[in-house]
Structure formats: structure tokens, C-alpha cells
């Protein structure tokens, strides 16, 4: 689980082009959207692509993303329970 969280932080920083942010800057429970990392709606769509591409999870309802992408913690939990690759 710890490794997955690190992996996710890395992916988020590189895929979403978060310049000037390091893995250490992101706490497991920090909100990813709004006041936290400040991700926006396009980033949310990119996270859906990451789930599909890297973990073989297809979100049927994009609204599910809201709870899944709350934090690194919630994302990692969802991925480890549902991943197909």
C-alpha cells in the first residue's frame, strides 16, 4: 500500500505537470482538489485515464471519481481493491 501511494504521488506530479511540487509535499490525506493540491476538472479526467491505463479500472460513472479522488489515501484504497493490472 505504501509503495502504491508513492507511485500515485509520482504519477500525479508528472502526468498533471505539477511543477515545483515534490512527493514530500503531498500528504496521504491531503485533499487533491480545491484548497489542497488545487487540481481542477481536467485533472480529474486525467486521473480517470490513469485508472484505466495503469490499473485496468474503467469508471462506469465519472461521478464516482469525486469520492475516489478525494486523497492519495482514498485513491490507493480504491485501486488496490479494484485493480485488474
Amino acid at each position: 500500500m505504501e509503495a502504491l501511494k508513492q507511485e500515485l504521488k509520482n504519477k500525479i506530479i508528472t502526468t498533471l505537470n505539477l511543477e515545483d511540487i515534490t512527493i514530500e509535499d503531498i500528504a496521504d490525506n491531503d485533499p487533491l482538489f480545491g484548497d489542497g493540491l488545487g487540481l481542477d476538472s481536467i485533472d480529474a479526467l486525467e486521473l480517470i485515464v490513469i485508472l484505466d491505463k495503469d490499473y485496468g479500472i474503467k469508471l462506469v460513472d465519472p461521478k464516482e471519481g469525486k469520492t475516489i479522488f478525494q486523497s492519495i489515501e482514498s485513491m490507493a484504497a480504491y485501486i488496490s481493491a479494484n485493480r485488474t493490472k
Binding site: L16, L18, E19, D20, G38, I42, E46, V49, D52, K53
Partner: protein
């Protein structure tokens, strides 16, 4: 009635150099645009993390407009500055990247963050957001820099009071080859560029 309009300021970005009103204000050793734009961003101490999410065309337009508009725009009042930009390659640089992401059917993961930049006018949106410009916006495509059209169209916006200032110019980016030429035009008399037109400044 048709009033005379004047170039207020202009900026050129090409060949790893930024020239503002004729003065070189930033120049580095030859490098790619990604590196050049990042170094310019750092050099001018711009605080705007969204910059790094932009595609190259938007970064180019953003950098040019940043240096021209920052002295002009104030946060506590409305700024009616229209944006009229043009180029030859539209968003083709990003279009090609996006097309690559959908051409392999076994690795078919179209990226929304890339797709959104497959429209040339997105760079106008980026500039509008940055400077909170709720103003006239149009993106045109021509085979080459079209001085006559851009100055005519800017004059129309100024003379019909659809804008107080027009930021107009050329932002061309394809395959790491780039040139931006932007200028601000308004009715305010400016003797500095009296005998020059957009074309002579563009070719400087």
C-alpha cells in the same frame, strides 16, 4: 468617426530571445522551447503554476502577453483589452501529439488534458483567465503574418468601442519552431512608433 490608433508596446519571442519594445530583455543559449519557456518563466518570477499545464502554443502566447499586459492591467478595475491573435499552424503541434495517442488501438488512451489544447483559441482563454479579461476574443488563421488584416480588425474594435485596447499579433508554434509577435494598440497617442507599422516591427 474613424479615429487614428497607435501602437503602444510590442514584444517578439523567437530564437531563445525575448525583445520588448526593441530591447532584448531575455536571451539564453540555444535550447528547446520547453526549456526556454521554463527559464523565461523563472527569470521573470512569474507565479502561476498553471503555466506548466499549458501546451507550447499557450505558453508562447502567455509569455508574450504577460510582459505586455502586466504593466497595463490592474486587478481592481475592469480592463477592456481585446485579444486578436493569429497564426499559420493553428494547434497542429498539439493535434499531432493527440493523434499519436489515438493511433495505436492497443494503447488507446486519449488524454483530455491534451485534447483541450487542440484548439488554437485556448491560448486566448489562458490569457483571459490570467488577466481576468472579460473581453472580445478571436483567433484567426492565415498562411503568413497578415499585418493589414490584424491592424484593420483591431481598429474596428477600437473605433466601435468594443475594446479600449487591443492585444493583437502572431503566435506560431510547430515542432519546436516558434515566433511570437504581439503588440498593444489603442487610441491613445504615442509618438514613439509613429512612423512604424506593425509589419516593420514584426520584421525587426
Amino acid at each position: 468617426m474613424t479615429q487614428k490608433t497607435y501602437i503602444q508596446s510590442y514584444i517578439t519571442i523567437q530564437n531563445n530571445e525575448i525583445v520588448l519594445n526593441g530591447d532584448s530583455i531575455f536571451k539564453i543559449e540555444p535550447t528547446d522551447f520547453a526549456d526556454f519557456s521554463k527559464q523565461a518563466y523563472r527569470h521573470f518570477e512569474i507565479q502561476y503554476p498553471k503555466f506548466f499545464k499549458m501546451d507550447a502554443l499557450s505558453k508562447l502566447a502567455f509569455l508574450g502577453s504577460e510582459l505586455l499586459l502586466s504593466p497595463l492591467v490592474s486587478a481592481d478595475q475592469e480592463n477592456n483589452i481585446a485579444l486578436v491573435l493569429a497564426n499559420k499552424s493553428s494547434s497542429l503541434d498539439t493535434d499531432v501529439k493527440y493523434q499519436e495517442s489515438i493511433s495505436d488501438k492497443d494503447n488507446y488512451f486519449p488524454s483530455p488534458a491534451v485534447f483541450v489544447y487542440t484548439l488554437p483559441n485556448i491560448c486566448l482563454g489562458e490569457i483571459s483567465i490570467r488577466h481576468q479579461l472579460k473581453s472580445e476574443n478571436t483567433f484567426f488563421i492565415f498562411d503568413a503574418f497578415n499585418t493589414e488584416f490584424l491592424s484593420n480588425y483591431s481598429n474596428i474594435l477600437l473605433n466601435t468601442n468594443k475594446a479600449d485596447v487591443v492585444l493583437c499579433g502572431w503566435v506560431e508554434f510547430f515542432n519546436d519552431s516558434y515566433k511570437a509577435f504581439l503588440c498593444t494598440i489603442s487610441k491613445e497617442e504615442n509618438t514613439k512608433y509613429k512612423n512604424e507599422n506593425i509589419n516593420t516591427l514584426y520584421n525587426k
